[in-house]
């Protein structure tokens, strides 16, 4: 037999012995596998869900206006007068200044906030509205139905639903109510020359910061908000929320770490005797170490593979029913969406080194200590 064949055969015998030994303590090892796999599942679910939401937010908000200019009065957002639009139009680097009309409406019927908006690119007929999918679901409305809202003066304004926005856009449009400019102004009592804010389109990304500074010079009472700031805010929110999910779990994680350490490092009397006997019948220290490496590797790899696979299908197959309520919030109008699967090599490697590696190290150190001592002493 060649040398390589000999090494392989030796490893196969070691694996056979290890698995047979593990089967003798079946309940203990299966229990450990379940808890270990569960921990990997929770960690991987949070990791996958957070990064998928960040990815989705990045994808969507990459299309948002480069700069939004708000007017501030006494620290609060206020309506922006028409003169402000003219003041920004001449700034070099700004392709278009688009006055926006949007706001919120609280609907007491379903106890939900809608985002009302005048679409800049399409002319809606007064008296008609286009609604978001979650709003349509909450009100049980579809195209052709009528919805009425009480305006600022108490008068009811009725809208005929022209269309419901596609379900595919729900992450951005769940609570939208698109209405004509005339209806919007009447509903909220907004004068003709006022807008909610201004969207600035700056085609060159390197000019955005300079344009923002020029906006502040031209309009000291305004606040330019850059698209990058909005994206960073969303990143921070999802990081914060994943930390909030992991915080209550940290106790469980710690408990598992102690359990794993105890299981891996504190050899039981049986195991010590087993090592002693193996040494007495001629096993080398390296054989014992390899046998324990097989045991640790089998449990931790299996826990990693099963936990990560289960987390993947939990997040991307079932839309994370265990995590979504915490990560999304408590809105009445939930967008009902599926996340696009995004798993990176970095995520998998991070998970692997966080879960498999420490367990293997914890397994080997005490076994090495037991294996290098005299068999007679170990068995006593």
């Amino acid at each position: 037999m060649t040398e390589r064949g000999g090494v392989l055969a030796r490893q196969r015998y070691l694996a056979d012995y290890t698995v047979a030994a593990m089967a003798r303590r079946r309940a203990r090892n299966l229990g450990l596998l379940a808890v270990y796999g569960g921990m990997v599942f929770v960690l991987a679910s949070v990791l996958f869900y957070t990064s998928a939401l960040k990815h989705e937010a990045g994808l969507l908000l990459a299309e948002a206006p480069e700069i939004v200019v708000q007017r501030m009065i006494a620290g609060r957002h206020d309506l922006i007068p028409g003169g402000h639009t003219a003041a920004l139009t001449g700034i070099r680097g700004v392709r278009e200044v688009q006055p926006r009309l949007w706001g919120y409406h609280y609907d007491a019927a379903v106890r939900a906030n809608y985002t009302l908006m005048v679409p800049p690119d399409r002319d809606l007929e007064p008296g008609t509205a286009v609604i978001g999918p979650a709003l349509a679901r909450a009100r049980g409305a579809s195209a052709g139905d009528m919805l009425s809202f009480r305006g600022h003066d108490g008068a009811l304004t009725a809208f005929r639903i022209d269309a419901v926005l596609p379900q595919a856009s729900t992450l951005a449009s769940a609570d939208l109510l698109l209405v004509a400019e005339k209806d919007f102004r009447r509903l909220f009592g907004i004068p003709e020359d006022r807008h909610t804010d201004l969207a600035l389109h700056v085609p060159n990304p390197r000019e955005v910061q300079t344009v923002a500074e020029k906006v502040l010079e031209a309009l000291p009472d305004s606040r330019p908000i850059l698209r990058d700031e909005i994206l960073r805010t969303y990143d921070a929110v999802f990081d914060w929320r994943s930390a909030l999910v992991l915080l209550p779990l940290s106790g469980a994680l710690l408990a598992f770490a102690i359990l794993a350490w105890e299981k891996a490092s504190g050899l039981s009397a049986d195991e010590r005797r087993e090592i002693g006997i193996l040494k007495a019948i001629g096993w080398e220290t390296s054989d014992v170490l390899q046998m324990k490496l097989w045991e640790g590797a089998l449990i931790s790899l299996l826990a990693f593979l099963l936990g990560t696979t289960a987390a993947y299908w939990h997040v991307f197959g079932l839309s994370a029913p265990l995590l979504a309520p915490v990560m999304q919030g408590w809105s009445v109008l939930y967008p009902d969406f599926r996340l696009t699967p995004t798993v990176s090599a970095t995520q998998l490697l991070t998970l692997f080194f966080l879960t498999v590696f420490p367990y293997l190290v914890a397994t080997l150190v005490p076994v090495w200590r037991a294996a290098v001592t005299d068999p007679d002493e170990v068995m006593r």
Partner: protein
């Protein structure tokens, strides 16, 4: 060998069985990663960005209960104290959301 002697049937070895389980679990994960890598023409990856561009939207409809949670990036500096400086936070997601990062800077 006598014709009546039961033929020895090689049993699968415990180590091999464990490796098969490990291999199956690896295949399951590899299959999931393959599923993630599949090119998909899902409608929501096209519709939603288009809508954001057309309407000039600035926030996701994830937390719609309050204005400063619906449009996170646009919240003003006093959003959480909109009624008066000692006002308590009304909405659960408001207390779970950190203030926008640009307000820290």
């Amino acid at each position: 060998m006598a014709s009546g002697t039961p033929r020895h049937r090689p049993r699968s070895r415990p180590g091999d069985r464990a490796l098969i389980v490990l291999l199956l679990a690896s295949l399951a994960l590899a299959g999931s990663l393959l599923h993630a890598a599949l090119p998909r023409a899902e409608a929501h990856t096209q519709h939603a960005p288009m809508l954001v561009r057309d309407l000039g939207l600035t926030g996701l409809a994830l937390f719609t209960e309050a204005r400063y949670t619906r449009h996170l990036g646009l919240g003003d500096r006093h959003a959480a104290f909109r009624d008066h400086p000692m006002a308590l936070e009304h909405f659960p997601s408001g207390s779970l959301l950190p203030p926008p990062r640009h307000l820290h800077d």
